[in-house]
């Protein structure tokens, strides 16, 4: 339960960190360390070098402009959770972050680190996906913007190149009048979710659902959008009956069947969470 030996690089700039990534075979980025250090302690990860980006100036800022919340690579979960500016632009972030582990973990863990780690059951990847957000990935050729829809490949696996580093994440603000909710079910508070559901809905002038974005964590090998559920909600009055019928369309997306019932239990949990989350979002919309 002690980390293996590794070369330690305390990078002073993004460029230095990228260079370090290229000069060793196997490197990992250390930001908050709340997922990395347990995997080092377990020796699941045995990298040649650990590149610490915690000393790079300017990475710990949250900026709200141009209709988006931009979160630097060293912004801690708790920092974003408590940011009033971020809350005003997108209250979904605070609601989802309250479900991430516990306060001592949120005090250290970073938002971008969670996205890079890409645990299929983690909350923030599902939030980024629901909001159609993106990350800025810096590599030897400079920065590029990677949309959430093209980022998450598999459990703990992203599409980023080994020499790239996420330097910021961009969470679009909620549209005016949008309703939102994040609901998850865990066996114990703070654990990874059996299933988590993230919802943003907007209503038309007739009070019916004009748009719906729904994503889920914990149900598949990566966080996923639920387009069939979204399509089934649009145009309805979001009544409990309509939502329940739409939620049934999530069944096909649930491929994670390690719940002891071949997925039956998780399908039920996901349907219930969708119903709860959409009901909450509907109340907040308008």
């Amino acid at each position: 339960m002690k980390p293996p030996r590794f070369e330690y690089v305390a990078a002073k700039s993004i460029e230095e960190a990228i260079e370090a990534r290229s000069s060793f075979d196997d490197t990992v980025i250390l930001a908050g360390g709340q997922s990395l250090i347990p995997t080092l302690n377990y020796r699941i990860a045995q990298p040649d070098a650990v590149v610490d980006i915690g000393r790079i100036p300017g990475l710990d800022t949250i900026t709200v402009q141009d209709g988006a919340v931009r979160v630097g690579a060293m912004v801690r979960h708790r920092q974003l959770e408590l940011s009033e500016e971020a809350f005003a632009a997108n209250p979904l972030l605070r609601e989802a972050l309250g479900n991430v582990a516990h306060i001592p973990i949120r005090n250290r863990g970073t938002v971008c680190g969670s996205l890079a780690h890409a645990d299929a059951a983690a909350e923030l990847p599902a939030v980024l996906l629901c909001l159609d957000g993106s990350v800025t990935a810096h590599g030897p050729a400079g920065p590029r913007e990677v949309p959430a829809s093209g980022l998450f490949l598999f459990h703990m696996t992203t599409t980023l190149n080994p020499d790239e580093i996420i330097t910021a994440a961009t969470f679009p603000a909620l549209p005016d009048g949008a309703g939102y909710a994040f609901e998850e079910f865990t066996r114990r508070h703070g654990d990874y979710a059996v299933a988590g559901i993230c919802v943003v809905v907007t209503l038309g002038a007739d009070g019916r659902c004009a748009s719906a974005a729904i994503s889920a964590c914990g149900i598949a090998e990566r966080p996923v959008r639920l387009p069939e559920v979204e399509a089934a909600l649009v145009g309805t009055d979001l009544s409990d009956t309509a939502v329940r019928a739409a939620a049934a369309h999530a069944d096909g997306a649930i491929t994670n069947e390690d719940d002891g019932t071949g997925g039956r239990y998780r399908r039920q949990v996901a349907r219930t969470l969708i119903s709860r989350a959409v009901a909450k979002a509907r109340q907040r919309a308008g």
């Binding site: 339960m1 030996r5 709340q34 347990p38 582990a101 306060i103």
Partner: protein, 175 residues
């Protein structure tokens, strides 16, 4: 003997580069050269001999090793000592002395908020943080249990710990 560093965990290998760090722990400055892989929990216990911080699971689940790092609670087992360079750290030793317990310690004593005591340092740090940061803390059963949810106790069943949180709040605001 007790105050001598125990380098069994912290030893630098002969061919390993150490990293110089400087930390303030409970108001005292320390400078050391450490192995990059040394956990902050082991640095505190083995290098500084502050053995009040306990090590339970070493993967962030139990909360025994919780300290305050620059004023915020943190798992010292999920932090490398090198990450704490320049930081101000408070451990359970900062809360009081045997003959002059702090309010949270006193409350745990009065309410029998511990049995074996292994998890207690972590609880004391988290409860101190909760009560200090919230002028009007949620002292409902649910509110307290949520505040404590990152820390595991396998003896008490938590009832007496919940009672100790309420008592600590009283003691902190008495007179």
């Amino acid at each position: 003997m007790l105050n001598q560093p125990d380098r069994s965990v912290a030893t630098l290998a002969e061919d390993e580069d150490g990293v110089a760090i400087r930390v303030t722990v409970n108001g005292v400055d320390h400078e050391r050269t450490v192995s990059p892989r040394l956990l902050l929990s082991d640095f505190l216990r083995h290098e500084l001999r502050l053995t009040g911080t306990h090590v339970g699971c070493e993967h962030g689940v139990c909360g025994c090793c919780t300290i305050r790092l620059d004023g915020e609670t943190a798992r010292s087992c999920l932090t490398l000592a090198v990450q704490a360079d320049g930081a101000e750290i408070h451990t359970v030793e900062s809360l009081g002395k045997e003959d002059a317990l702090g309010p949270v310690q006193q409350a745990f004593k009065e309410c029998h908020g511990l049995q074996c005591g292994y998890c207690t340092p972590g609880f004391l740090m988290v409860v101190t943080d909760y009560l200090e940061k919230n002028p009007e803390p949620d002292l409902s059963e649910d509110g307290i249990r949520l505040a404590l949810s990152g820390n595991l106790c396998r003896c008490t069943g938590y009832q007496n710990i919940v009672a100790a949180v309420r008592r600590a709040h009283e003691l902190m605001h008495a007179g």
